[in-house]
């Protein structure tokens, strides 16, 4: 009786199959949304709620300024605390999307009476947008394949290490927002192409605007979409829908993008954007031809007309481009862009690009680390896409392949490839699992046909599986299904481990394993920056290698000579030259820059390997690129970089060496090793008796990671 009672109560809640499916889908999406957020909180759990790495500190500092002074002050901000004595026009040299987004969230939370600190908002912005990306991935997957593929794509992208690497809590960088914007723009564009609706086209233009405001990677969009349109044109898939979508995106997106000061008129002036413009005009030619074809009934006449028009159009375009380039109206490609197309370019010509570790080419292990099983699924996904070619699948294939190529050129671009890889792999997983489950569930021929209303591939397989090998088919399907789930669970394990162990380090607080397996934390960076903040005059100028510029201004609140915004190569080269000169020569440079303190990062005591001595060759290279008095071979012995007794004499006496190893020769670092044993390079240093003449040690942090020297005033003249 009680049974019937409860069923009576539940009756209104009893759902039809379709509703059940919807409920399951929505709850999966909710769970994925939450999962994407919380898996990125490992960094907060393992360390604390703090801003990570280098660039995020600048973003944090500007966001703070934005919330304190308002948008217009932020927009017109001239920052005299960096690039001393040049200063930096901040409003005109940054992508404001991230800061504005965080400030808006901050405002919204305060409006809702949540009194949070802006730092917490900044820390959690990237995870929040990563969660939103999963939703976009779902809709995108649904658009190009079906809702199953969408769900799988959402799950895959939620935990994919390639994306997590740039979006953990605290990594408050442009990419965190930009990947969302990128995928969103692509989704809206594909939707616009599929529907031909002006509204979606408009939305994609606004998505593009957001992307432009957030990250320089928008250049990828403005080149991929024209390429895609071009491929559609030459494969004979031109349609009115495409025309509407592309023109809407291009014209509106371009006008909107011009509102960002950092981008300005680049859309009509820079070589990187010319492909989009060319395709735009090509599109008009196509439209015109279509119209003429419609008007002319004679095919022969039309062929002749076609030939003349196409030749003329290409010739005019070519001449226009040539004239534009020659007259300097269209700027040539920038080094960064060029190094993507000809990857060996940067290595030979632009050391400042080649020196950044995330600009290194990708080895297979990095792909494996960031994608894991998605790499196996990717070719299968490609195959599925080609089996069911449509405008949408062509897009995702092109996106996948171009971004894969770029990911091979530069490690950091794995990030851009991640959504595409997740989507294509999701298609593989979803289509396979769907096929297999259809096989498993089908009892008879009739039931089978009844249950397949999904993909054409599923239909094909069910048609073909009508032969007598049904039982084996089922076993095989079981085995394959089991394998697929095993693989997916391995993927989950891998992602969790990678997130927790590899990608959650803030790199400003370092963690190491102690001798007894315990965790040791080195908080030297913040120690040094707070020392600067509290013990130096407000207007003190600090010279360091550019990596630490943003952190010094944000945390130490002191003026720096160069920082991570590497806009002036000569200025950086001057610092590089000072670091690689003898002390008295360096002193002159230091005086000319009004430097009060010099900061170096040193890992000899802790074994921290990304310190200034290991970066030193890049200082020499960059310095030597502008000042030929600095020559790399002077610092090498037989092409080898050494710091021990066999090191080059210039190396042993240059400023960087002296500042790093000052009084290090008196120090025992490891049992059984002589004093002055450098643990980062595993050698005993070559110059233990370092005398400083024009600088004096001001502060060294507890683990010697950061060393700060005060520049002495010049001697009295007699």
């Amino acid at each position: 009786m009680s049974n019937s009672y409860t069923s009576d109560i539940l009756k209104p809640f009893k759902l039809k199959t379709k509703q059940q499916e919807l409920l399951i889908r929505v709850s999966i999406l909710c769970l994925v949304y939450i999962l994407a957020f919380i898996t990125r909180l490992f960094s907060v759990l393992r360390y604390e709620s703090m801003i990570h790495e280098f660039d995020p500190y600048f973003n944090y500092r500007t966001t703070l300024y934005l919330t304190q002074h308002g948008f217009y002050d932020f927009w017109n901000w001239f920052d005299y605390e960096s690039w001393y004595p040049l200063g930096r026009i901040v409003g005109g040299t940054l992508y404001p999307g991230l800061m504005v987004t965080a400030a808006l969230i901050y405002r919204l939370l305060h409006f809702l009476r949540f009194a949070v600190h802006i730092r917490e908002v900044c820390v959690l912005t990237a995870p929040f947008f990563a969660s939103n990306t999963t939703l976009v991935a779902y809709f995108f997957g649904k658009e190009i394949w079906d809702s199953g593929a969408g769900l799988v794509a959402a799950i895959l992208i939620a935990v994919c290490p390639g994306y997590i690497s740039r979006s953990v809590a605290g990594s408050y960088d442009n990419e965190g927002v930009a990947i969302f914007a990128l995928l969103f723009t692509f989704y809206l564009f594909v939707k616009a192409v599929n529907t031909g609706s002006l509204a979606w086209g408009l939305a994609s233009a606004f998505g593009y605007f957001y992307m432009v405001s957030a990250w320089g990677g928008y250049v990828f969009i403005i080149n991929l979409i024209p390429l895609y349109v071009l491929v559609l044109l030459i494969t004979g898939r031109y349609s009115m829908r495409l025309y509407v979508a592309y023109n809407c995106l291009y014209i509106l997106g371009m006008l909107l993008a011009m509102q960002i000061r950092f981008v300005g008129f680049q859309h009509v002036q820079s070589g990187e954007h010319m492909a989009a413009m060319g395709v735009f005009f090509l599109m008009q030619v196509f439209y015109f031809l279509d119209w003429v074809k419609h008007m002319l009934s004679d095919t022969k006449l039309f062929q002749e007309f076609l030939r003349i028009t196409v030749t003329c159009a290409v010739a005019v375009g070519g001449i226009a481009l040539g004239v534009g380039m020659a007259s300097g109206y269209i700027s040539p490609w920038t080094g960064r862009f060029y190094s993507l197309l000809d990857p060996t370019y940067a290595k030979d010509h632009i050391p400042i690009i080649a020196s950044v570790s995330e600009h290194q080419p990708t080895a297979w292990s990095s792909f494996m680390f960031d994608f894991h099983i998605l790499l196996f699924l990717f070719p299968a996904g490609l195959y599925f896409c080609f089996k069911r070619l449509s405008d949408a699948t062509i897009f995702i294939v092109m996106y996948g392949l171009t971004s894969m190529y770029f990911a091979g050129v530069m490690v950091r671009l794995i990030l851009v490839a991640t959504p595409a890889v997740c989507l294509i792999s999701a298609i593989a997983v979803s289509a396979t699992v769907k096929n297999l489950t259809v096989l498993l569930r089908s009892k008879t021929k009739v039931a089978q046909i009844g249950s397949t209303k999904g993909t054409s591939s599923a239909k094909a397989s069910s048609k073909a599986s009508l032969d007598q090998s049904q039982p084996f088919q089922k076993n095989g399907a079981m085995a394959l299904l089991f394998g697929a789930f095993y693989l997916l669970s391995r993927y989950a394990t891998h992602c969790t481990w990678v997130t927790s162990e590899a990608y959650s380090s803030p790199s400003i607080v370092l963690a190491a394993r102690g001798a007894h397996g315990n965790r040791v934390i080195f908080d030297d960076y913040r120690e040094a920056y707070f020392w600067l903040r509290q013990n130096t005059p407000l207007d003190a100028k600090v010279m360091s290698w550019w990596d630490y510029g943003y952190q010094i201004t944000a945390m130490g609140n002191r003026t720096v000579i160069v920082d991570n915004n590497t806009w002036n190569n000569t200025h950086i080269a001057t610092v590089g030259r000072a670091m690689s000169s003898y002390e008295d020569e360096a002193y002159e440079i230091i005086r000319s820059l009004d430097v009060d303190y010099v900061l170096v990062v040193f890992g000899g005591v802790t074994g921290y390997s990304s310190d200034d001595i290991n970066k030193f060759l890049w200082m020499v290279r960059i310095g030597g690129g502008v000042f030929p008095v600095i020559k790399e071979p002077d610092y090498l012995v037989n092409g080898e970089y050494r710091v021990d007794k066999g090191a080059a004499p210039k190396m042993l006496n240059c400023l960087m060496y002296k500042l790093s190893y000052y009084r290090f020769g008196e120090m025992m670092t490891e049992y059984g090793k002589p004093p002055g044993y450098d643990r980062a390079r595993g050698v005993e240093i070559g110059n233990k008796d370092i005398k400083l003449e024009h600088l004096e040690e001001a502060f060294t942090t507890s683990n010697w990671i950061v060393r700060i020297y005060k520049v002495k005033p010049p001697n009295n003249r007699w």
Binding site: I234, T235, G236, L306, R307, V310, T311, V314, D342, P343, K347, T362, A363, W364, S365, S366, F367, M368, F369, I373, L375, F376, L377, F378, P379, A380, L382, Y383, F384, F386, L389, V397, G400, L401, M404, Y405, G408, T432, N435, A460, S461, A464, S465, S469, G476, A479, L480, G483, L487, R490, T493, H494, T496, W497, S500, A502, E632, P633, N638, G639
Partner: protein
């Protein structure tokens, strides 16, 4: 009187000597110029005889400097010495210098000496390791001690740094380096020209809808190739100029195919792994799309079994390799009570 005669004779004698040595020098230079013009790159091939003729025998100061590349044909196949590459760069410097001075500069000549045929010259210069480039200045008395050796660092940027070395030591200007037009620029121009020519033709066929580009199979294979190219790290190999494999340092007979340490890889290693990725992916596609059309049940079964085994092996192999290479021990975070 006798004394007068004596001084006079000395003066005339010395005048004679000066004149004859001047003649001799100009002869030598002329010889060198002909030798230089005979050689394709402008590098004069020296042997023991010519070394003594042009370097040991003439009076000091010689009217010219000599930049000599020490070559050994039997070491050309040792990739770590980079003899071929350096020699090519050396020839580029030589030909650039000669063209920049319209073959009329007689202050500097470029030469090479081969080890097999002129061992005594190698001894004369005291050369016992390669690659070795030496600049013999006009005033160098002893070829071994007074000549300048080019350091490793001066090879580092190839022709450019060699030219800098020459400029810094001889006070001569080499001028811009003329590299033979490498593929990229020239071919790019050709290709674009060809493309422009073909464009109307192609466009016509496109409108007819009857080209190869309408065949998805071609696109598919292209796509898989791009994928393979990227994930195998081929770009890395090209940029870093990684060799396919290394020779083991401890045991020269053994080859090292896999490099331990993330962020670096050898050529063959990347291709092997990329191949494994591609195979598994394509097998999966084949099983779900092609295998279902096979009529024969046994064949189907065998194919299925094969696929499963190969995929299992490949995935396992790649994951093992990755763990070995990066040194990470990836594990799940299970509740501690489960262990």
């Amino acid at each position: 009187m006798a004394a007068h005669f004596f001084t006079l004779s000395i003066i005339t004698l010395s005048l004679f000597v000066v004149a004859s040595s001047g003649e001799l020098e100009s002869e030598l230079v002329a010889d060198l110029l002909t030798l230089q013009s005979e050689s394709k790159s402008g590098v004069i091939h020296l042997d023991d005889r010519t070394v003594s003729k042009f370097l040991t025998y003439p009076r000091i100061p010689r009217p010219y400097s000599f930049l000599i590349f020490f070559d050994a044909a039997n070491f050309h196949d040792k990739p770590e010495l980079r003899l071929r590459e350096l020699r090519r760069e050396f020839e580029i410097v030589a030909s650039s210098f000669i063209t920049n001075h319209n073959s009329s500069n007689t202050k500097l000549f470029f030469g090479d000496i081969e080890f097999r045929e002129s061992q005594s010259s190698f001894q004369l210069f005291g050369v016992n390791s390669l690659p070795h480039v030496r600049l013999v200045g006009p005033t160098a008395k002893s070829l071994k001690d007074d000549s300048d050796v080019m350091d490793q660092g001066d090879f580092s940027r190839l022709a450019e740094s060699m030219a800098e070395f020459v400029e810094s030591r001889t006070k001569l200007t080499v001028g811009p380096i003329h590299r033979p037009p490498v593929l990229s620029k020239m071919q790019l121009g050709l290709i674009t020209a060809l493309l422009l020519l073909c464009l109307p033709l192609v466009a016509k066929r496109i409108f007819a809808g009857e080209t190869l580009i309408h065949d998805p199979k071609i696109w598919l294979s292209g796509a898989v190739f791009v994928y393979f190219f990227s994930v195998s790290g081929a770009m890395h190999n090209i940029i870093r100029k990684m060799p396919m494999f290394l020779v083991d340092r401890n045991d020269p007979n053994k080859l090292v195919f896999f490099y331990q340490g993330s962020g670096m890889q050898l050529g063959a290693e990347g291709f092997a792994v990329g191949f494994l990725y591609t195979v598994v992916g394509l097998l999966l596609a084949v099983v779900t799309h092609v295998l279902v059309y096979v009529k024969d049940a046994t064949a189907k079964r065998l194919a299925m079994l094969f696929t499963l085994l190969v995929s299992f092996w490949a995935v396992k192999k790649v994951i093992l390799l990755d763990n070995w290479k990066t040194g990470y021990g990836i594990h799940g975070f299970w509740p501690s009570s489960w262990n």
